[in-house]
């Protein structure tokens, strides 16, 4: 779960990390009032959950009311990489001499957090990591002890941060780790951490991704998630409501299955047999009839979808329950909206086959056959 910039900044500021003065606005008047109160120059920044906002026209630096109005008009309501911009953050511009990067993430290979510092802030850090890996100082943290103060210092000195601000940058890094640890962070980063001519450091951007599996113990952040919602894709929101693992893709063959690996494999096979997957949808283990029906509703709601492959290998999930869910979902239609190919295997698959209304679906015995049939259906629709 990714916080909006304005939310992450609030969290960082509350923990004592210096951030520029800023206000959230959702219309032109709001932007003007905020800009006047803060004082020009200010930055007007689209609050959407995508990277590269600047290049995409989502961030403007303005010096006057006129410029602020223009920026507000162009940014609020714009479509930024598929996301609708409802709100902007109006923020005092910082006069900087250096841009640093500080971040904390989980190094899954090591199974432990890693703190990172670089003097090459202000640009895409993943590019820096690739082109000049030595420009990023890394310090692995033992999660049982947490980050020792010396580790923050070491990362900062190893990165070659100007000694005049080393102490303050260490302190920001220490706070960032504490936040990451307390708030179940997945990634926490500040890029750029600006350094002013007066040797002050200030977080000009703020990224905070939260481990979704830990939201149950982060009620404050879970609330922010609700606030942050509304700017996402409609179908992805629906998946949240139904509590499905769902990813929308660009193709036209809808895919429903149980278990992440098997669903991924089904996607891969659609591609392998010349089709294009429209989505990833995992109903999870032990799905009951209602959940199966919800899954079909999800996929039918996607206008891109021309056919559906329903691939279940029952372990906890029972074939009879799946069959009942499919029947229930499809029997309510006078005409089935998109052709559905079903393949049942594993627990109770025979019972499922008996229950399944074969007037409503096409049945295949193997995964490979089911995928090929669904791809054919999708091609037929496209050919019409």
């Amino acid at each position: 779960m990714k916080l909006h910039e304005y939310q992450a900044k609030q969290v960082f500021a509350d923990a004592g990390i210096p951030t520029p003065e800023s206000q959230l606005a959702s219309d032109v008047d709001g932007v003007l009032t905020a800009a006047q109160e803060i004082g020009y120059p200010v930055a007007v920044k689209a609050q959407v959950q995508v990277g590269g906002r600047g290049k995409a026209g989502g961030i403007e630096l303005v010096d006057t009311d006129e410029e602020a109005r223009e920026a507000a008009e162009s940014i609020i309501g714009m479509d930024l990489k598929g996301y609708h911009v409802d709100q902007v953050l109006v923020e005092g511009a910082v006069d900087f001499v250096d841009e640093l990067y500080v971040g904390i993430t989980m190094d899954r290979g090591e199974g432990k957090p890693v703190a990172m510092v670089s003097t090459k802030g202000g640009v895409n850090i993943e590019e820096v990591a690739e082109e000049d890996p030595d420009a990023i100082a890394r310090e692995h943290i033992d999660p049982s002890f947490g980050m020792h103060p010396y580790q923050a210092r070491k990362a900062v000195y190893d990165a070659g941060v100007d000694p005049a601000v080393a102490r303050d940058v260490s302190s920001v890094l220490t706070t960032l780790y504490q936040l990451w640890d307390d708030r179940d962070g997945a990634d926490a980063e500040i890029n750029p951490l600006m350094v002013t001519a007066d040797d002050e450091v200030i977080a000009a951007d703020a990224v905070m991704n939260i481990d979704e599996d830990a939201l149950f113990r982060q009620p404050e952040l879970a609330e922010m998630e609700a606030e942050a919602a509304g700017s996402g894709d409609d179908l992805e929101q629906k998946a949240d409501e139904y509590n499905f693992d769902y990813v929308r893709l660009e193709g036209n063959t809808g895919i429903i299955g149980n278990g992440a690996g098997l669903v991924m494999t089904t996607l891969d096979l659609v591609d392998h047999y010349g089709g294009e997957p429209a989505n990833f949808l995992d109903v999870g283990g032990g799905a009951k009839a209602e959940r199966i029906a919800n899954a079909l509703d999800m996929v039918f709601s996607d206008d891109n979808v021309d056919s559906v492959v329903f691939n279940i290998f029952g372990g906890i999930t029972r074939g009879d329950e799946v069959a009942r869910g499919i029947n229930e979902a499809l029997e309510q239609f006078d005409e089935i909206p998109k052709p559905v190919v079903v393949r049942l295997a594993g627990t109770n698959w025979e019972e499922g086959m008996e229950i399944l209304n074969e007037d409503l679906v096409t049945v295949e015995q193997t995964l490979e056959d089911a995928v090929q049939r669904a791809v054919e259906y999708a091609e037929e629709v496209n050919d019409q």
Binding site: G109, G261, M264, D271, A345
Partner: protein
């Protein structure tokens, strides 16, 4: 022979009084697993699935000589349950629970470096030695006794591949679901090492998926140490970057690490054929076994 579990394994089920815990304890017993106790705080003295329940894993070990734990505990409490298992004198702990916070698992991972107890999972279907015992939620009926070792990050994909093997009359020594989380106890390298050292295992299937670099490390390990022939499968070739594909660990990073291509090419370089479909994996294994 087999690895990690057989019909001598004495199992305590943590969370045996919950719906899933009870159901799967019964399923495991039906398959032949020697469940000797349950452990649920506050439920000591009760009985569940026909075995005595203790308040702590320590008591279950003391009273019933359990040597292995299978953990069905909700995610909020599962990290603690794993610590309890690791701090008891067990050989093996298998964590089925999906959705344990990653930071909890990072701490568990630290403890793992300090103990001799092996952890499998979390977020895994468990493991099975066909005809002897199963630990977890795998559907026993699709497995058959035989000579193929199988290790996989995914549950249902495992069943798919096993089904393809069993349908051809190819059975398994042991099948291990290592789990789909970013931080897990036993990884591919550990499982490959076990199979390599197992006399009965004549071929190995390794089902990987996008995310992380475990498959790449496994490829390097195979190249250096594994003589047993290995066939691979990698799920997630069509996954877009930055999206979590169901499993918390199944994600291609924004900077493009953890891709299926990288894993497939690493495996190929180590001499491991990677199937485009589960059927092709079975083809390779059939070939290995001659």
């Amino acid at each position: 022979m087999s690895v990690l579990v057989d019909d001598d394994t004495r199992v305590v089920v943590q969370g045996i009084t919950g719906g899933e815990g009870k159901f799967h304890a019964e399923q495991m017993m039906e398959y032949g697993t020697n469940i000797v106790a349950g452990a649920v705080p506050g439920k000591g003295g009760q009985e569940a699935a026909g075995v005595p329940v203790y308040d702590t894993v320590h008591e279950a070990v003391e009273e019933e000589n359990a040597d292995t734990s299978v953990i069905f505990v909700p995610p909020a409490f599962a990290g603690d349950a794993v610590f309890e298992a690791l701090d008891t004198d067990l050989d093996l702990a298998v964590a089925i629970t999906e959705g344990i916070p990653t930071q909890d698992m990072a701490r568990v991972n630290k403890r793992l470096s300090e103990t001799d107890t092996r952890l499998i999972g979390p977020n895994c279907p468990g493991l099975i030695t066909p005809g002897e015992a199963k630990l977890g939620i795998l559907p026993g009926n699709i497995f058959a006794e035989g000579n193929v070792g199988l290790v996989s990050r995914s549950g249902t994909l495992t069943y798919q591949v096993v089904d393809n093997l069993t349908n051809r009359g190819i059975g398994q020594t042991t099948a291990i679901g290592i789990g789909g989380d970013p931080i897990i106890g036993t990884d591919f390298v550990d499982a490959l090492e076990l199979f390599e050292n197992d006399d009965e295992t004549e071929a190995i299937v390794m089902c990987g998926e996008i995310g992380g670099e475990d498959e790449e490390e496994a490829a390097a390990f195979i190249d250096d140490y594994v003589d047993t022939p290995v066939a691979g499968f990698i799920a997630g070739r069509t996954a877009p970057p930055g999206k979590r594909m169901g499993h918390a660990g199944a994600i291609v990073s924004g900077s493009g690490t953890g891709t299926a291509e990288s894993k497939i090419s690493a495996l190929n370089d180590a001499g491991v054929p990677v199937g485009d479909t589960p059927e092709e994996v079975a083809d390779h294994i059939e070939e290995f076994l001659g």
